[in-house]
């Protein structure tokens, strides 16, 4: 499905490349998303071979629920990576935002929606603050957000106060990660998704034809439409044979699609890519580079808060560990594993979802095999290293063939 989003504007001649050309693009990273799909299929095959409960409907649904929070945080991380920057504070911000929501809702009796809005606003404000410090004083984002990581962890402890843990009971908040739709509703949603995708394809084709431009062949469009339809139908079938389509997954997908639209189809997103590719060129083109930077860090803080709320909803509590442990590292590792460049200017929001799926699958599969955390960390580290090496090799080959 990531394919569809990244190759949409490709001209007709690229729709049906020769096999050898496809192989070259696969290695060099043009088709990084396909590489991830193959990797994911391998991981799933291995775990299914070791434990046949891995691909059961129940476990796949659990997997999707496990990755929802990390995936949401990773969406903001993708934006920051596209600038060629890094945000080390997203984990701490997610914990702090969740704590703010919990305290306002549980201790002060705020309306759940207001508490959630306040938590999101806190995340956004933190992101904007860090982005402003980074762009105004030209301090490396690494340092600003490292300071943030420490400071917001302290703020989390402060907000939680002496209790150290707050249980969430409001059904509106706990419902975020624990709502499942009935079979019928699930199929209606699936139909809307597939129909909507078809409409987008058709309208895009008609617009290009109206402008007198080459357009993708109907065969290519048919293949992409078919892929999306098949994935949607299979996913809905799997969810429906367990508890139903989870609200958390719909929220994650909506944010992925929405934020991918913003970054690939709007003027703002184009400017994010431009600043990440060549900030000086962007400045000379009249783009307000610092404004883009502040906005992107604001998005990272906002998405971190949303992810933190989702994690709290799934845990039914906020405690001193919220947003801690390996959450930050996994949220950054995911997009990189799935093909968003650490060097800026290359990537897609789909990598937030795909990366979270890869890491989540490894973690979930090793839990099923009852492996220790020690092994889990080492394997996850190995996968991240492998992904970064593949990315680096792709870069070298691109520059060797005159492609920057």
């Amino acid at each position: 499905m990531s394919e569809t989003a990244t190759t949409a504007p490709a001209p007709a001649e690229e729709a049906m490349p020769r096999p050898k050309e496809t192989l070259r693009r696969l290695i060099q990273g043009d088709l990084a998303s396909l590489r991830v799909v193959i990797g994911l299929a391998l991981i799933w095959a291995i775990f299914q071979f070791e434990n046949d409960r891995f691909l059961s409907a129940q476990n796949l649904t659990n997997l999707m629920l496990q990755i929802a929070a990390t995936g949401l945080i990773s969406i903001g991380v993708v934006y920051v990576l596209l600038l060629g920057e890094i945000d080390l504070s997203v984990g701490a911000v997610s914990g702090l935002a969740a704590a703010v929501m919990a305290v306002l809702n549980v201790k002060h009796g705020w309306n759940p929606y207001l508490a959630i809005a306040a938590a999101v606003a806190v995340g956004m404000a933190i992101g904007v603050l860090q982005g402003s410090l980074f762009s105004r004083f030209v301090v490396p984002s690494f340092v600003v957000t490292l300071a943030g990581l420490l400071a917001w962890q302290g703020a989390l402890l402060q907000v939680l106060g002496s209790t150290g843990s707050i249980n969430l009971t409001d059904p509106k908040i706990t419902g975020l990660a624990n709502t499942f739709y009935s079979d019928a509703v699930g199929w209606i949603i699936a139909a809307v998704v597939v129909g909507g995708y078809g409409a987008v394809l058709f309208l895009g084709h008609r617009r290009r034809a109206a402008a007198g431009l080459d357009s993708e062949s109907f065969a290519g469009m048919g293949v992409r439409f078919g892929l999306v339809a098949v994935v949607t139908i299979v996913a809905t079938t799997v969810f429906n044979s367990d508890r139903g389509v989870p609200l958390a997954v719909l929220i994650l997908l909506a944010f992925v699609v929405g934020m991918e639209y913003v970054v690939k189809r709007t003027g703002f997103g184009r400017h994010v890519f431009a600043v990440g590719g060549n900030a000086e060129a962007a400045r000379r083109a009249g783009i307000r580079v610092n404004g883009i930077r502040v906005a992107v860090f604001g998005i990272a803080g906002t998405m971190a808060a949303i992810g933190g709320i989702m994690a709290a909803s799934r845990l039914l509590a906020v405690n001193q560990n919220s947003g801690g442990n390996e959450l930050l590292l996994l949220a950054i590792a995911g997009p990189v594993i799935a093909g968003t460049s650490l060097f800026g200017g290359r990537g897609s929001v789909w990598t937030a979802l795909m990366g979270a799926l890869v890491i989540g699958s490894i973690s979930n599969g090793m839990d099923l095999l009852a492996l220790s955390s020690a092994v889990k960390f080492m394997v996850t580290g190995g996968v991240l290293l492998l992904a970064v090496l593949v990315d680096a090799i792709a870069r070298q080959q691109r520059s060797a063939t005159g492609r920057v």
Partner: protein, 272 residues
């Protein structure tokens, strides 16, 4: 080639960087349908002059007049709004974006109707306009959707020049447009500059390469150590005159014939 008042006129423009006097009371002008070659040795202030006109850094003193009106240019947007476009030596293209995206960078076309609220890009319209512009300029690019990083140096330069034309400018500043290009690619870029003149634009070309300057320029303006050091009509001067203005040793040469610094006739080729 040019008639009436100049399009762009600088009077007594100075610029300091700390202890360095980069520009010292420079008077400069360019008219519509005229190509002015701006030449000078390294550090003579050519790039500073262009950056001052382009609003990259404002002048410390002096007047800039555009179409007869005194104007203030302190930001790149000011220059763009007046109709002054600049193509930089380092191209200032984003290698990770395709030709269409680079051409429209900073002035993207937005879809009408539903997409307007989100500033949705109108890719189809931009690609259509890109195709038209490039074919008008006889620029050939393998695919409008190729990433600029994959293009040759000449193609990149032509994309950069074409991009400057999108805002319908009246003056185009080109910083070293033929540096690091092969013979055939240089010819393509020089042809493109002639087409800019045919479009009645005022064109300023900075170059180290006097052969290229003599090939396209109507007038040659020499800077030396930040100050104006001579102005020549390209038709009625020789490289020798221009070289002695660049190096500032023309007057001494009568006395010290054979000074290697003065440059033998035609020494312009060795000017890099």
């Amino acid at each position: 080639m040019s008639d009436g008042a100049p399009l762009l006129e600088l009077e007594g423009v100075s610029k300091r960087f700390g202890p360095v006097q980069a520009l010292d009371r420079v008077d400069f002008a360019v008219s519509a349908g005229e190509v002015v070659g701006l030449v000078g040795d390294n550090g003579a202030g050519k790039s500073t002059l262009v950056k001052t006109i382009a609003g990259i850094h404002g002048a410390d003193e002096g007047t800039i007049r555009f179409e007869g009106q005194a104007v203030s240019i302190s930001r790149p947007q000011d220059a763009t709004a007046l109709g002054i476009a600049t193509v930089y030596q380092d191209l200032a293209l984003c290698d990770n974006l395709d030709v269409v995206a680079n051409l429209f960078l900073g002035r993207e076309e937005v879809s009408a109707g539903f997409g307007q609220a989100s500033r949705q890009l109108d890719e189809a319209r931009m690609e259509h306009q890109t195709g038209e512009l490039l074919s008008n300029l006889a620029v050939t690019i393998p695919s409008l959707r190729s990433e600029v990083g994959t293009l040759s140096g000449g193609q990149r330069q032509q994309v950069a020049v074409a991009r400057s034309l999108l805002g319908e400018p009246k003056v185009v500043l080109l910083d070293e447009p033929t540096a690091a290009l092969g013979v055939a690619q240089t010819a393509q870029v020089l042809n493109l500059i002639r087409r800019l003149r045919e479009r009645e634009l005022g064109v300023v070309v900075i170059s180290h390469n006097l052969v290229d300057v003599f090939e396209v320029a109507d007038r040659i303006f020499v800077l030396r150590l930040g100050a104006a050091a001579g102005e020549f009509a390209a038709e009625s001067t020789t490289e020798e005159h221009v070289v002695s203005a660049i190096t500032g040793v023309g007057s001494e040469r009568e006395k010290q014939n054979g000074d290697p610094e003065a440059g033998a006739p035609g020494g312009g080729g060795g000017e890099r």
